[in-house]
Amino acid sequence: MADILAMRSARRDGSVGGPRTESGSDTRAASAIGSSITIRDVVKTYGAFTAADHISLDVEPGEFITLLGPSGSGKTTLLNLVAGFQKLDGGEILVDGKPVHNVPPHRRGFGMVFQSYALFPNMTVTQNVAFPLRMAGADRETTERRVAETLDIMRLSEHAAKLPSQMSGGQQQRVAIARAIVRRPKVVLMDEPLSALDRRLRESIQIEIRDLHQRLGSTILFVTHDQGEALTMSDRIAVLDAGKIVQVATPVEIYRHPATKFVASFVGESNLIDAEIVQKRGTTMTLKNQEGYVFSAESRSSLDVGRATVLVRPERISISTTPNASALPVVVRSAIFLGEILRIEAETASGERLLIRCTDSADRALPAPGDKLYASWRAEDCWVLP
């Protein structure tokens, strides 16, 4: 675990609010600064099932961090532990350096957005959004002002008097977000907030949440099983599998340099090639696949002999129809036209499957099943899994 954590490279540029601040200059001016969250060796079991298996994670103030994993990987459990809805079976959670296990959820001062929206059906939009302020003891005038501001930010002002049941799913989720941020909390927890929405709505709210994050500067802990969502939104992604964190890194690092086969296949499409190590020189490794095709790959692996798994992303493979000694000959099994992209499934002579994505161009006919192609890739587009 330790070296996985150490693996996250020097990705953050240090400025609070993450690398995306460069674009909008001063939009997040006088806003609150988020809390740091330290998750240390956390364990949670349900009977024989271990939902969180010694998880450690450091979240920096103002960071947008995504917990990504398939269902049952423990990401929601971890979020609920941070929220205080469930009790720890081991380890500790610190917020701004202070342990929180004795603080009940309602005194942690977080904001939270739920997958099912969880808007109070008996209250109007205004009453829902005012709820956290009223609980915090804000006076009427402050409450009204803050609610109006927040509704304005979320572009909900015209719906203020509506009941949740009178609104669409996207609007309801924006109300839920408004309720979560109205107190300007230092930490906002989001539990798959977009998974109930359709794709276009999801994409527009993704952008809204990202902008909001820059504006408020809160620390955001975001749970999702959608890798695309995680890549789009996060400063850093923590990938979970079977109750453990398998990698914590920036989206670019996760995509280009996954730490395990699981991360490689869970995030994005991938070709995992089983190959034999021929030679290792610095960070470059020379390998040979099953039918003897020799190629170079980037590597930070400690391996230097034996077999290794090499990741080649489908869009990094270039194809040609003319025979080439330095390329791998493959036979097309199927080719699907996806618009700007062609998705080709091919097979090597030894039957290994190779997925290729390439941009469509007018001067090229679509490959047909049975066609011979020559695939090649650059060493820097190729990653040996540690």
């Binding site: 929220a83 205080g84 809805f85 009940p104 959820p105 309602h106 005194r107 942690r108 001062g109 977080f110 904001g111 939270m112 739920f114 997958q115 099912s116 969880a118 808007l119 109070f120 059906p121 008996n122 209250m123 109007t124 009453q127 709820f131 956290p132 009223r134 609980m135 915090a136 003891g137 009941l163 049941s165 009178q166 839920a176 309720r179 979560a180 107190r183 927890l189």
Partner: protein
Amino acid sequence: MSATAVHTAGPTVSLSERLKDPAWLLLPAAAFLAFIYLLPLFDLFRISMSGSSWSVHFERVFAVSLYWDSLVRTMQISFTVALLCLFFGYPTALLIHKTSGWRQAVIATAVVLPYFIAILIRTYSWMVLLGKNGPINKLAVALGIFDQPAQLLFNRGSVLLGMTAVLLPLMVLSIYSSIARQDPSLVRAGQASGAGPLAVFWRVLLPLTLPGMGAGFLLVFVTALGFFITPTLLGGPGDQMFAMHITQQADFATSEGFLQALAVVLLVITLVVVAIAGRFLGFEFIWGGNKLSDSTKPSKQRHPGRWTGGALSAKIADGIGWPLMRLLSRMPVNTGTWTVRALGGFVLMMLTVPIVVVMILSFSKASFLTFPPPGFSLRWYEKFFSDTEWMTAFTNSLIIAAMSAVFAVTLGVMAALGIVRSSIKGKSAIMLLLVSPVIVPPVVLGLSLYSLFLRTDLAGTMGGLAAAHAIGGLPLVVVIMAASLQGVDRRLEQAAAVHGASPLTVFRTVTLPAIAPGMAAAAFFAFLHSFDELVLSLFLSSAQLKTLPLRLWADVNYQLNPVLAVVSTLEVLLVVGGIALARPVLAGRSKALA
């Protein structure tokens, strides 16, 4: 019924086309209810107005202080009982909701089980518990609270206690289904917004479960209005409830007309309460179900309107509620939990202890009821099984209950199919009619059937009694089967049909297997309903045809001997066995409703 009339509106439809719509399946149940339920009730109204002027009997009801006082008293007792049930029922429902695993199963069983045990037996168990030789008196004397055993029975307190204990499960189930229907993340959203458990309860859970509370309150209130067995056995002369006057008057043949007027007054009051309740809650509250999808109007439109009242009350709550709530959220986190545990635990004791005591007493060696028993023996079991009178009553009850279950299930399953699967209009109204026997006080129903049975020579026959019991069994079957049918995936049937199965084959191979467990449960409850039925039998049976509850009733009034405890124990075993068999079905059903 207007089942076929619906179709005449459209262009002319051939008979075979009409038969394809399963609405005609409603006809047998409709005919049955029309003959044995609506017609007698109609007669009841007619006879009540048969005096020199239509109102003469009613004037007497309201002029004689005996009846007027009793009416007021009945309202007071029913209202108090409903309040008590609400106060104790809510924490119990919360306790079921908050526990999980085997604990939840145990608590839920402790609540549900008594619900299915005959009221007569549960009342009897309280008589034993509170009696002079009962455990409470014994304990109090041993602790020095009383010098000698006190008379705890036959007063207002014992009536309230007994009725509350008998009706509590109804309230708990009503509130629980309302709580379980809520999105669990609402509570979490409240907490994440800074509201403590008590504040979340007060501001979120309580307002959202208000309809469930209202439904439970009114169900208990309406049922209590017609109560007869419990106040008769546990009350003193000052606790006469209205239904008791009807049975007393029924012994005098001279009171024809006046007797019916008494019944009509009770019925009308009940119906008015139900009508008002239905106006606000929707009549579905009677059977605790969800709205049947009426293909003609989308039910979604009702939702916003229903909450406008909530918005107003929220405004009032805003004015005084917030400071109070902030105070509440500052209280120790466990306050609410412990309140719920204490009150819920108390309720569970109230529901289970009397029955357990009676079960223990059935093995007593003593020749009279005393607790703890001086020794154990099976003498009372031997007495029960060797006594021909008891055994005749027992077999009579079994035969009648089996017949009644067959009637109710046959009619009920057809009716449920007709209502769920047809495109008939006014499904809610039809459902209301099918289920309405549940709210008619048994005393009123018994009286109305009395003259019909005399006229048709049904009185004192097994078939007649079974049919009368099926009036109450039918609603149970319809409700269970409607829920069961709604749970069947229509696409499975469509899949079978597409691949060549005829409608009858589809029903036999797809629908029937899916609803068979529900049918078994429905049959059991219809059987149990008849097996436990006392009030109708009091009116409709003869000296030659005694059922087990009638025999029990005679003995309870005459002498409290341990044979009654034996019968009670056997009944508990019957219910436990039945529930154990029906449990998977019930679990499935509550899931379908949530």
